[in-house]
Symmetry: C2
Subunit: 203 residues, 2 copies
Amino acid sequence: MNGRLGAPRHRKPYDAEALLDIAVHVFNERGYDGTSMDDIARAAGITKASIYYHVSGKEELLERGIHRALDALFSVLDEPAACSGSAQGRLRHVLQRSVAIMSARLPEVALLLRVRGNTPVERWALEQRRTFTRCIAALVQAAIDEGSLRSDVEAGLVARLLFGTVNSIVEWYRPEGRLNPEYIASAIEALVFDGLVPLARVG
Amino acid sequence: MNGRLGAPRHRKPYDAEALLDIAVHVFNERGYDGTSMDDIARAAGITKASIYYHVSGKEELLERGIHRALDALFSVLDEPAACSGSAQGRLRHVLQRSVAIMSARLPEVALLLRVRGNTPVERWALEQRRTFTRCIAALVQAAIDEGSLRSDVEAGLVARLLFGTVNSIVEWYRPEGRLNPEYIASAIEALVFDGLVPLARVG
């Protein structure tokens, strides 16, 4: 209750969240399988014992890192604009907000998208990704049903391709770069919904 | 010259190509950084010494695996239909053929798309990927210039998003699955060029 008053005046060099930032960075750099607790300790400049003070091990760091990404992404689905209005409008909202979250939580989302499934936490992460894709597919299906989306490509494939486009952000987006997330989100929305061929192509 | 005649009647359990198949599989399963020569030897059921008979080490296996993917992808750009006709037509051809190659060379393309840049070979692979994207961007720009593609999103971003969609195949495509590569390629082409919104939306 008195956390702020009771906190030490000199903050420890690493609290659990700051340590997690570093672990996520090292996982992305070396791959989860290629990362040892020694690597994380070295990157953080602390002993392994200090890390074990905060977490039970490497897999807990992975789980917490992935939780950050999943919590942010799934919370989009609960936003008012994702829950009311036309299905196409909801899908547009989820798309825009997903781009915003991916650019804001780039390291954690990259980590989520690169898991391989060799450990229970990775398999849980893959299952969560499948759940998210199913939610998107349901939204796509609702938009097809209301007649606002083409019906000749099945909803599940549309959902996967849609998030193939969105997820590619983690491969090339640089926060210090020329393109801002709003521009990228608008470009993706325009291309996804209206396509590459100019709309006014007659005459 | 007389390789076939001179070959031993009993083929060795692993020639260099079959060994490479196994190495690519292990790299994809454990990540390149997380894979040791011991892992590859164990998966192949042979000794490390037998592997060194074929290659100088782990990095050469990575390089050869990535070469398979790059050779296949870049060869698309030299196909007649990628070199003549309208720019939009050429782009459509490259898109279709890239989907075909990715589904046929799934493990090698997955390997190419998951390199991190920690070694000279990985950095070379990333540079080759950037070169490929620049070729696609040039094709997109040519299509914009001929007036067959919308001009409000810049060619470089279109190229990256386009191949974000295509590359996502390695995440979810399963050769034994329900969707065949031709259907996937048609769906991607339809979505990318015409968008999700039905074309006949008036009346």
